[in-house]
């Protein structure tokens, strides 16, 4: 899509403006405040329905409806219009947008609306406009912010949102699974306590149930189910006891708790079984967990192990016998590079193990803490029923809260650790609590009292009654655990596969963007940074951009490079993104005063880069520097017809444009009105600008002036002198090469040039700044016409018939001889 013609009415500083671009590049130049940016805003508005300058940080109070229109049109929004005749393929279509309805646009003919829609969808991404402010968006922003900006450009915000949701789903599933596992452990423990079992298996449970059934005269059952536990056993009155707790259950629960706080367990240490205090072992596990979490917190790499794993794997696969680093292209001096990466891979495995260790230890501790809490609850119930007066209720509540805090912390220890949510008292303190020791003593006494009171049948009946409920809970917990395990596996894999898919896609995209970014930047800085390289990579929700600094390492783009280099980088990154996003759909690219900090030489390189890579685009460039505008023309990026000089602005008329292409026509107009002073002023100003540019293009010397003010005489003398010098050299070289045809051609040019130069030397007094006031008022039109013609001829000496000016450059070929040439090659002087 290219813009053929642009009409702007009542937008920003423009009252009415029409410019014909014919789909070509254009430069709009002029001093600050002449309305250039209003044209940029108009194009921005046409393509997106918004004006970037009015949005973003610090612009919250600005509104399109109030500040996007001309200040006098706020009450007449229907008159605020941007209209463009655009060309897509071979179709010419008119598109129009008004601030009155900014989100919709009119298409003429309307039948093309569907055809044009995809183009405007891409245009709405806003990747067609780059201003100095936008450059900062790419270069100096934080990695997280940059990622948001670029992901928004890539239309990936939804992907990042989805990733956050999937992380949350995975974390939830993991917590639920941990809880379900713990509940299953508690259900098993409750059964073990009711039936006095040392360990848990379905067969052991069945045997114990049949044992109790035998005591009550029942036949054995084949399988455990809550409905069959008391099948065919007739209820007998065993003294009317209806406790929620059986004696065995109480006894075993107290035993289990006592075992945790003062008993021993058998562990396998270095292949040998040994007994250790259970309390010490839990404390040791708690310390081990904290130690591991400290390591993970200190070493961010551990959390990112999957990312590093990928980096090391790819790195190792790219190294060959040369031992060269595939990233920086230099030889690795630290020994065998492959071996080094292999050791890094091993370290990475250690990191993975550490995270696994955190998970395992927290699960282990959670199960035990939940068990302590559950046992504590059972004993508390007994106390309430039988010995309420002897029990420390306040101490119980505190201990229960501590248990709950530990249990919750173990669900996601890495997040909770070192926060307010992490328990202040450690596990040892919990296990040494007086409340815990006291409650076991009370329950021991309760059990003793019960034993004297109840018969074997009563105890068997109570146990089976309790088992009906406990087995039901166990079956539910087991089912729940299986369900949550399945969900956890699914959510784990879903997140893993999603991230894999995203990374694979983004790696490819960023690789393409990086490749283009480097090519563009190297094209601009081939002299000082030919070995430039960069890294554009994403890390979770961040996008890291780092650039090489003269082989000294990689740094953020705004860390060590000069402001001019940063501007180049911003420009290149913008173009790299534009190349990816806009593809071939949107060819319009607007560059709003983006080379402010870039010196003249590098601007020339920017022109070369644009010509090399972006001739398929329609570049609309604004600048307040006339020299840059002229340079764009002399470098062949913009033709004279598309140079729009905004010379003034006022609120009534908007920008006042002087177009170079009209120079001679305007002078003719002045002369038609006998306004010689005006014609002479135009000629002098344009000639001064023209020869200033020629001095630059021919690398001619100018006498230094401390006040830094050079006039037409200085520029024209210097440019003409250089012209003559090069022409003379070219004739000599043609002679030496025995190229008689070339020699003849050049001598003819020299003869004609001398005549023209001679003529302008005579006539130049007429436009001399020092004398014009005295003489111009006395001049008649016919006196001034020869001056005009002489300068037309003089301009013509420096201009090829193709329209571009000549310049000195390095020729092609092995010896790279210096040449003076034009862009089309019709002028070609060997001036070595």
């Amino acid at each position: 899509m290219r813009i053929l013609e642009l009409t702007v009415e009542n937008i920003r500083g423009i009252k009415k403006l029409n410019i014909k671009l014919d789909g070509n590049n254009a430069v709009i130049f002029g001093q600050n405040g002449t309305g250039k940016s209003a044209v940029v805003d108009a194009i921005d508005f046409l393509l997106t329905g918004d004006i970037t300058r009015l949005s973003g940080k610090g612009c919250g109070y600005l509104k399109l409806s109030e500040h996007g229109c001309h200040v006098d049109s706020r009450e007449h929004l229907k008159d605020t219009i941007v209209r463009a005749k655009i060309k897509i393929d071979d179709k010419e279509i008119v598109v129009e947008r008004s601030i009155q309805k900014p989100k919709s646009y009119k298409v003429i003919p309307s039948s093309e609306k569907e055809f044009i829609a995809p183009y405007f969808k891409i245009a709405e991404l806003g990747q067609h406009l780059l201003s100095r402010r936008e450059i900062l968006r790419y270069i100096t922003s934080e990695a997280g912010e940059r990622a948001k900006e670029i992901q928004s450009l890539l239309n990936l915000s939804n992907i990042e949102n989805l990733r956050s949701i999937l992380v949350s789903v995975r974390n939830n599933a993991e917590s639920q699974h941990k809880n379900a596992e713990s509940n299953l452990g508690l259900a098993e423990s409750a059964i073990k306590n009711i039936l006095s079992l040392q360990s848990f298996s379905k067969q052991q449970v069945l045997d114990k149930i049949n044992e109790k059934r035998h005591i009550l005269g029942g036949k054995p059952i084949d399988d455990v189910s809550a409905n069959d536990i008391k099948k065919d056993i007739v209820s007998q009155l065993f003294g009317g006891h209806e406790s929620d707790l059986t004696m065995d259950q109480l006894e075993n629960t107290a035993k289990e708790l006592r075992n945790i706080i003062s008993g021993e367990i058998t562990i396998v240490d270095e292949g040998e079984e040994k007994k250790v205090k259970h309390k010490e072992y839990l404390t040791e596990k708690q310390n081990e967990l904290i130690g591991l979490m400290d390591e993970v917190k200190q070493e961010a790499k551990i959390k990112e192990y999957s990312l590093y794993k990928k980096l090391f794997e790819i790195g190792a696969s790219l190294i060959d016998e040369s031992n060269m680093c595939p990233l920086c292209g230099r030889e690795w001096e630290g020994g065998d590079f492959k071996q080094y990466l292999a050791s890094k891979q091993e370290q990475n495995e250690v990191a993975k193990e550490k995270l696994k260790g955190v998970d395992e230890l927290s699960s282990y501790l959670k199960q035990h803490i939940d068990l302590i809490a559950k046992d504590f609850d059972v004993l508390f119930k007994a106390c309430q029923k039988f010995k309420e007066t002897e029990y420390d209720r306040q101490g119980h509540d505190k201990l229960k809260t501590l248990c709950e805090k530990w249990s919750a912390s173990m669900l996601d220890p890495l997040t909770v650790y070192e926060t307010e949510k992490w328990p202040k008292q450690d596990i040892r303190k919990m296990l040494e609590s007086e409340v815990l020791i006291k409650i076991i003593e009370i329950v021991d006494q309760i059990v003793k009292d019960m034993g004297a009171k109840y018969s074997q049948q009563q105890l068997a009946w109570d146990a089976l009654t309790k088992m009906e409920e406990a087995w039901g809970r166990y079956v539910e917990s087991e089912k729940d655990s299986r369900k949550h395990e399945k969900s956890k596996n699914r959510s784990d894999l879903l997140l893993e596969y999603f991230q894999e898919a995203r990374d694979a896609m983004l790696d490819g995209i960023y690789e393409e963007i990086k490749g283009n970014f480097e090519s563009y930047y190297k094209a601009i800085h081939s002299e000082d940074e030919a070995g430039f390289s960069s890294e554009i990579k994403h890390k979770e929700a961040e996008l890291i951009v780092e650039v090489d600094f003269y082989g000294r390492g990689k740094f953020p783009p705004h860390a060590v490079h000069s402001e001019g280099h940063q501007d180049s980088m911003g420009l290149c990154l913008f173009f790299a993104l534009n190349r990816y996003l806009a593809s071939d759909l949107i060819n319009v690219v607007v560059l709003d005063d983006v080379v402010m900090s870039i010196d003249r030489n590098h601007r020339r390189s920017i022109c070369s880069m644009l010509k090399k890579y972006f001739m398929d685009k329609q570049l609309i460039i604004t600048t307040h520097e006339t020299a840059w505008a002229k340079q764009l023309r002399s470098e062949g990026l913009v033709n004279a017809d598309n140079m729009y000089h905004f010379v003034n602005w006022n609120i009534e008329t908007g920008p006042i444009i002087e177009m170079e292409k009209d120079l001679w026509a305007k002078i003719d107009e002045d002369l038609a009105k006998d306004d010689v002073p005006s014609a002479a002023q135009k000629l002098r100003r344009n000639a001064e600008s023209f020869f200033e540019n020629m001095c630059d293009l021919l690398e001619s010397k100018i006498v230094y002036k401390g006040h830094h003010r050079w006039d037409l005489g200085d520029y024209a003398d210097s440019a003409v002198s250089a012209y003559k010098k090069y022409l003379s050299r070219a004739i000599n070289n043609a002679k030496k090469a025995n190229d008689l045809a070339k020699q003849g051609e050049l001598e003819e040019i020299e003869k004609k040039a001398n005549e023209i130069i001679q003529k302008t030397n005579i006539e130049r007094w007429a436009v001399n700044e020092e004398v014009h006031y005295n003489k111009w008022s006395e001049m008649a039109k016919n006196d001034f016409l020869p001056v005009i013609n002489a300068f037309k001829d003089l301009f013509g000496l420096f201009t090829c018939s193709c329209g571009s000016t000549i310049s000195i450059m390095e020729g092609v070929g092995e010896d790279k001889r210096k040449i003076v040439a034009c862009k089309c090659g019709k002028v070609f002087w060997d001036v070595q």
């Binding site: 949701i165 939830n172 699914r490 894999e500 898919a501």
Partner: protein, 58 residues
Amino acid sequence: MATKNISELIFERLEQRLNDKKDVFDPIIKRLMENLRSDKPTKKEIEGIIKEENIENT
């Protein structure tokens, strides 16, 4: 003329991976992918699908 839709390319790749792991993801792949591709997938909906809860319950 197709515009580049990176999200869709990511979803296609993901769907392929889920299909490779049918033993884990059957029978929820279709419903899950529809939800992920929708305008505003929510945590609650995705959890419901993963747990194979009824649509009415999610």
